[in-house]
């Protein structure tokens, strides 16, 4: 087969189970994976852990996707969209796992499109509006460093599906953190204006750092990453008293509901639609 014909071949008729590039109706991302929950694993806790991690990823992916057509350069747009796509992939796997573990059999769409803001368990840092590019890269650095440290631990989780999702995610998050860190240094160590914007972004992010807890203690690892980047960027991480409340308890800022309205609008208006 010559390369000229390969794409034509791909565009030819397909079985009903292939909708790549054609719209909704993607099949279960855990298709054909052993879905039993091992003995000794609390299925409810497993489902809750998967939903929280999936919500962080879905909401982050949505904020990153907002940069498409608006990023400062085409390369950055492609980068932010790719990072969002990785996170969306992680969310899909985790929602599917949650639906199996909690016994409801809900699919990924049920979690993503048909829950309200109070049912979401993402940390509030993920839902804050994107605003400045400096804020986007600072937040991405914090969230990818934190998620990476958490996923490293989860690779040893007794649930093999969650452990496998984490092992895959570790590789992706390493790239996300590197991308964000390099931009933070470039902007912090750049012009007066970019430095000022980085300082503003750190001030916006700092009050939400106290919310970044996990079942494992990863604070030192995250603090090391942030210290290394801020030092190289000529910045200091401000110390703020943590804001009361917790996204993990379903307490959100006023910014989550509008984000979900946009994310969920089409699916809710046409709940049975496929295209």
């Amino acid at each position: 087969m010559s390369d000229d014909h390969v794409y034509l071949t791909l565009a030819e008729g397909h079985e009903d189970d292939a909708r790549w590039a054609y719209g909704t109706g993607f099949e279960d991302p855990l298709h054909g994976v052993d879905t039993s929950v091992p003995e000794g694993v609390d299925a409810g806790e497993l489902a809750a852990a998967c939903v929280a991690l999936a919500d962080d990823a879905l909401v982050s992916a949505q904020r990153l996707a907002e940069w498409v057509t608006r990023a400062p350069e085409l390369e950055e747009e492609v980068a932010l969209a790719n990072i969002g796509l990785d996170l969306l992939g992680q969310a899909r796997l985790l929602y599917s796992r949650a639906g199996q573990a909690d016994g409801t059999g809900r699919d990924e769409d049920a979690y993503a499109y048909f829950r309200d803001a109070a049912d979401f368990r993402n940390v509030r840092l993920a839902e804050l509006p994107g605003g400045d590019f400096a804020f986007t890269v600072v937040r991405l650095l914090v969230l990818s460093s934190w998620r990476l440290a958490h996923f490293r631990r989860l690779q040893a989780h007794p649930d093999p599906v969650l452990a496998a999702v984490a092992a895959k995610g570790v590789k992706e998050l390493t790239y996300h953190r590197q991308y964000a860190a390099e931009w933070c240094v470039r902007l912090g160590d750049g012009t007066d204006e970019s430095h000022r914007r980085m300082r503003t972004a750190l001030d916006q992010v700092a009050p939400y750092l106290g919310e970044l807890h996990t079942a494992y203690d990863v604070r030192d690892e995250v603090a090391d990453d942030l210290r290394q980047v801020t030092e190289a960027a000529g910045l200091t991480l401000p110390v703020y008293r943590p804001l009361p409340g917790s996204g993990r308890a379903g307490e959100h800022t006023e910014h989550l509901a509008p984000l979900l309205t946009e994310l969920q609008g089409v699916a809710r208006a046409h709940p049975e639609a496929t295209w």
Binding site: G89, K171, Y179
Partner: protein
């Protein structure tokens, strides 16, 4: 001379069929070249079970790969086909075969170097990454223009010697 039991021969033939399916996003590679086809078995009842692993969690081509493998196996006469997703161990660019690396380079895409192994990858802020040789002219005088490209698995580079931009499959 061909040796082996009929069941083994059947499994070998099924594997050959599945191995030839092209990747939807890097169509110069087969799924075997890319290392995403993990296993092909034929059960006692004749069901072919092919196992695939995604390159990246968000790879949108997985459903397409599953459908392509199933369609090719059915065309080859296997009535019962089952496609399984394998998440563990996670895909690594080290699984791209030697033949696959040559095909990438022939098509102007720089193949990946060895993937990082063993334990956490530290955050490194100094430019320590070795230059990727240009797949067209071979020059080492190249630079990264973007860590991300048209697909998750690639980055954008350019060659300062021949001035051509090129894609590069990232180590992961």
């Amino acid at each position: 001379m061909v040796t082996g039991t009929p069941a083994l021969l059947d499994a070998r033939r099924a594997r050959q069929v599945a191995e030839q399916v092209p990747d939807p996003e890097l169509p110069m590679l087969t799924l075997a070249d890319l290392g995403v086809l993990r296993d092909v078995e034929v059960g006692a009842d004749g069901t072919v079970v092919a196992s695939l692993t995604p390159t990246y969690s968000g790879c949108p081509a997985m459903a397409e790969m599953r459908a392509d493998v199933a369609a090719r196996l059915r065309e080859a006469g296997y009535q019962r086909v089952e496609i399984r997703t394998v998440l563990d161990p996670p895909w690594t660019s080290d699984w791209i075969t030697e033949a696959g690396r040559l095909k990438l380079a022939e098509h102007g895409i720089a193949p990946p170097g060895p993937a990082p192994r063993g334990g956490p990858v530290p955050l490194v802020l100094s430019p320590t990454r070795p230059a990727v040789p240009c797949p067209r002219c071979g020059s080492a005088d190249t630079e990264e223009t973007s860590r991300f490209a048209a697909t998750s698995c690639k980055a954008l580079w350019r060659c300062r010697a021949c001035r051509e931009p090129f894609e590069y499959v990232k180590e992961i």
